[in-house]
């Protein structure tokens, strides 16, 4: 066997923290052969990113390689001088980061940024740098590269930015590419396009790739071999074709179980040995109630003025050949739908399709330009968003936010966050009564009561999500809007939270409007699905019907872009 291009042996990485030394990575072995694509899969905190940082020697100051050896094409990376490493990074091994926008300099033209890399590693001369940069853009399939050469990162979409980052990473023809969650935050269709591009480009040049991801489906679809990590240790290494058919380690099996996929129910996501949750017996509270729809949205429109469209100064300075800017931008373009009592409706679409704007308008945090939002027979769309906080309807519609960290005030403890709606809008008064209600809610959402006095940064992602859910259900609302409530969570935590939401829905008789880009998650939780694109509804129907027999091309495209683990 030829020696591996990258050989990580017995790697241990330590971080010096206030609470002493933390071993983020313990005795990890990873080999990458030439031309091979290896996936490192694990949940947050599993040490997968730290491993790759150690390989690039870009650990932050608190971290150090405590033990083990890293050999890259015969060279010892661990003890190489910094000057040599600087030369190696970018030319021999390069990296694609999670957030493409953060990886690009926002005030420099992308063409110049590519030139910088080329010049740094003596891959181009000042005379031919522009041609080479355009060539690099062309290789990552950026349309009209001569024009895009002059673009700034903010002028490009997320997927386009990631292509530029790939162009940067591949500009010097490295032997090893490390992709750290390269498609997190991108839409499924963009994810597919970006991953296909990475795989094609690396295969073409015989490059090796390390793909770091939390998504088993993605790893399965694009990797030759998969390394599964848990808590800083490698628990399983196998070819991707075998690991999904016969996972050996319990953790791999658990991860695979928790990944939402077609043909499984919500309960199947939980590990086999999990105790059945107390509220598994669905009590059809709402179905016996009246059959009038809870929420009726009709012809809802939200327009935003385009920047400078109405300004006379702007029109004066606009170049003659430039097209006049359309008057207004329609984020939501006349949509209508209903939600019945006790029903879960999924609102699906890619970023920018208007699903969040729609949910904000239904939530009455944003005023619609036109159209009606009728909740339980009352036109709540007519109440201005600023006044709605005082309306008695406020407590009947609540929301669980996308990012559990962002939606909790960092200076409030968990109990204060949950108590806020109770103190403002419920009949419960008095310190002890509010506290008792908060504890009851915490128990309902499975949050240990002793965690109530902690600040958000002292809680894990799953616990913060529970605080957010407890706050949303504190007033026993009738409609809860779930805005990608699990997007920031690991799959195993996601499985638990989704089950919790399902149980709560039955025990409290709520209706859900579930906003998501992840069709597999929507499939698990929703009775009906609405697919949106550019502000319009393209398809609507029962979940099974839309998922299994999509009518429109767009839905088909969305469904086919999801990478599936070969199960």
């Amino acid at each position: 066997m030829t020696p591996a291009l990258l050989d990580v042996r017995d790697l241990t990485v330590e971080f010096i923290t206030r609470r002493g030394i933390v071993q983020a990575v313990q005795h990890v072995n990873v080999q990458v052969a030439k031309g091979e694509t290896v996936g490192i899969v694990g949940e947050s905190g599993s040490g997968k990113s730290v491993t790759s940082y150690a390989v690039m020697r870009i650990l932050d100051r608190a971290g150090k390689i405590a033990d083990g050896a890293i050999t890259f094409s015969g060279m010892d990376v661990r003890d190489a001088p910094e000057s040599q490493m600087r030369d190696l990074r970018g030319r021999e091994m390069s990296m694609i980061f999670q957030n493409p926008r953060a990886a690009l300099n926002p005030i420099r033209k992308i063409g110049h940024q590519i030139e910088d890399v080329l010049l740094q590693h003596v891959q181009a001369q000042p005379s031919d740098k522009k041609a080479k940069a355009i060539e690099a853009l062309k290789r990552v399939r950026i349309a009209r590269p001569e024009e895009r050469y002059h673009a700034y990162p903010f002028e490009l979409s997320g997927g386009m930015c990631q292509r530029v980052v790939i162009a940067l990473a591949l500009a010097c023809q490295p032997q090893l590419l490390i992709a750290d969650e390269p498609t997190t935050g991108l839409d499924v269709t963009t994810q597919k396009a970006v991953m296909d591009l990475v795989v094609e480009l690396t295969r073409e040049r015989g490059m090796s790739t390390i793909l770091i991801t939390h998504d088993l489906g993605l790893a399965a679809a694009y990797c030759d071999r998969v390394v599964v990590m848990e808590k800083g240790k490698v628990v399983e290494t196998a070819a991707s074709t075998t690991i999904f058919k016969s996972p050996q380690h319990a953790y791999t099996r658990k991860l695979m179980r928790a990944t939402p996929r077609p043909g499984v129910s919500l309960r199947d996501l939980l590990p086999e040995d999990a105790a059945p949750s107390p509220a598994t017996v669905p009590t059809p509270l709402a179905e016996t109630a009246d059959k009038t729809p809870l929420l009726v949205v009709s012809n809802l429109v939200k327009e935003y003025p385009r920047q400078g469209a109405t300004s006379t100064l702007a029109s004066f300075f606009r170049k003659k050949d430039q097209l006049p800017i359309a008057e207004n931008f329609r984020a939501v373009d006349g949509i209508s739908f209903t939600i019945n009592r006790g029903e879960s409706v999924g609102l699906v679409g890619e970023s920018g399709c208007g699903k969040s704007t729609t949910s904000m308008m239904v939530m009455r945090l944003l005023d619609p330009t036109s159209g009606m939002v009728t909740f339980d027979g009352e036109d709540i769309g007519a109440i201005p968003a600023k006044e709605f906080a005082k309306s008695p309807m406020r407590k009947r519609i609540q929301m669980v936010f996308q990012d559990p960290t962002d939606s909790l005030n960092p200076r409030f403890t968990a109990v204060r966050a949950i108590a806020d709606p109770i103190m403002r809008m419920s009949e419960i008064k008095g310190r002890d009564a509010v506290r008792a209600r908060c504890e009851e809610l915490a128990r309902q959402v499975g949050l240990p009561v002793e965690l109530l006095d902690r600040f958000p940064h002292q809680l894990s992602g799953g616990q913060k999500a529970r605080v957010g859910i407890a706050r949303a259900i504190a007033l026993s609302p009738e409609l809860v809007i779930l805005d990608e409530p699990t997007a920031a969570l690991d799959v195993s935590v996601q499985a638990v939270v989704l089950n919790l939401l399902e149980d709560l829905k039955h025990s409290l008789g709520m209706s859900y409007l579930f906003v998501s880009h992840d069709l597999n998650v929507v499939r698990l939780l929703c009775d009906r699905v609405i697919v949106m694109r550019t502000g319009k509804i393209v398809e609507e129907g029962m979940t099974e019907q839309v998922m299994d027999a999509p009518q429109t091309n767009y839905t088909k495209e969305l469904l086919s872009a999801i990478p599936h683990p070969p199960l």
Binding site: F15, T17, R18, R19, V22, Q23, A24, E43, S44, G45, D60, A62, K231, L270, P271, A274, A275, S277, L365, K386, F388, A389, K390, R394, K395, Q398, M399, F401, S407, L408, N409, P410, R411, F412, A417, D420, P421, R424, M425, R443, G446, P448, V449, E450, D453, R454, F455, H457, Q458, L459, S460, G461, G462, Q463, R471, A472, D490, S492, V493, V496
Partner: protein
């Protein structure tokens, strides 16, 4: 791990343990078996141990505070009693900082002056924090006309040379300590308003603000209970920095003869009075109050950084 309740089912504990076990940045490490919350005192001790300069600044601050509160009792001599027989004496065992042209003990005067200087600085900073901090937060949070009006007021103030503006205000309003406080607050207004505006602006559509709206909070309540506590850390740093500036400003006004009048002990006047004697060799009359002024400004500037670390709950684990 044993502190975890049995309430939570095994699988949740397992997954969240995974999240907690080996996170990358120290901030991301969730204390699983840690005590509920470190007390403020223990945390302050940690911050000081981590950064000895903060410790020095705190020591200085305590010294200044003691002088300000107990000044008249700890001063060895009456700061106003003149004694012409012992005028212009250099520092000695009897008079540590020497005596001035009227034979008053400079050490006593420096100690007693701390109260007045601190009172001016603290009240002007409190005033500007209330005015500038609140209006800046409102400007950042509400935007629109509120923002425009407050922004232009700040710009107008900044268009003047600030010390000259302070001089003008005191000269116009009258030569009193209250007017020094008001003048110092007005010239610091743009600094507070701008910092508070920027901090409030980035948070106006944060998730927790939206969540507070859903909880039935009105806009003013959100401003006060959600936004303001979050911009406190940066405001505390700002206050500490402008505190030094306020002391300098008050002393500067006194130095040129505005505000506090002799024979009141005040660092600025004392420097002004002593300035004439430096040429003739009696350096101590101006030097010691000047040094006190410098140390006070120095102390508050250093304190800013330490305070930020202490009041920010994210730094506490």
């Amino acid at each position: 791990m044993n502190q975890r309740p049995a309430l939570e089912t095994a699988h949740i504990a397992a997954t969240e343990m995974a999240a907690a076990a080996g996170a990358v940045p120290p901030d991301a490490i969730i204390p699983v078996s840690a005590p509920k919350q470190t007390s403020l005192l223990a945390h302050a001790r940690y911050v000081i141990a981590e950064n000895p300069v903060t410790g020095i600044a705190f020591g200085l601050f305590v010294l200044i505070a003691v002088c300000a509160i107990f000044g008249p009792w700890i001063a060895p001599y009456d700061p106003l009693a003149s004694n012409t027989t012992s005028a212009l004496q250099p520092p000695s065992a009897e008079h540590w900082f020497g005596t001035d042209q009227l034979g008053r003990d400079i050490l006593s005067r420096v100690i007693v002056a701390a109260r007045l200087d601190m009172a001016i600085a603290v009240s002007s900073v409190a005033l500007v924090f209330a005015l500038g901090g609140l209006s800046g937060t409102a400007a950042g949070f509400f935007g629109g006309w509120t923002d425009r009006i407050i922004g232009r007021i700040a710009d107008t103030i900044m268009a003047f040379p600030l010390f000259v503006l302070a001089m003008g205000i005191v000269a116009a309003l009258g030569n009193t300590v209250t007017n020094i406080v008001i003048a110092t607050a007005i010239i610091n207004f743009p600094l507070y308003a701008r910092v508070a505006r920027a901090e409030a602006n980035v948070r106006r559509d944060a998730g927790f603000v939206q969540a507070a709206r859903l909880s039935g909070n009105g806009e003013y309540r959100i401003l006060l209970t959600q936004i303001l506590p979050n911009i406190m850390p940066i405001m505390v740093v700002q206050m500490s920095l402008t505190m030094g500036y306020a002391i300098l400003n008050a002393a500067g006004l006194s130095f040129i003869g505005l505000g506090v009048r002799p024979p009141t002990p005040e660092w600025g006047i004392m420097v002004a009075e002593g300035a004439g004697f430096i040429i003739s060799g009696e350096w101590w009359i101006a030097f010691f109050p000047g040094a006190a002024l410098m140390l006070a400004v120095f102390c508050f500037n250093l304190l800013g950084d330490g305070l930020r670390d202490i009041v920010d709950p994210q730094r506490r684990t």
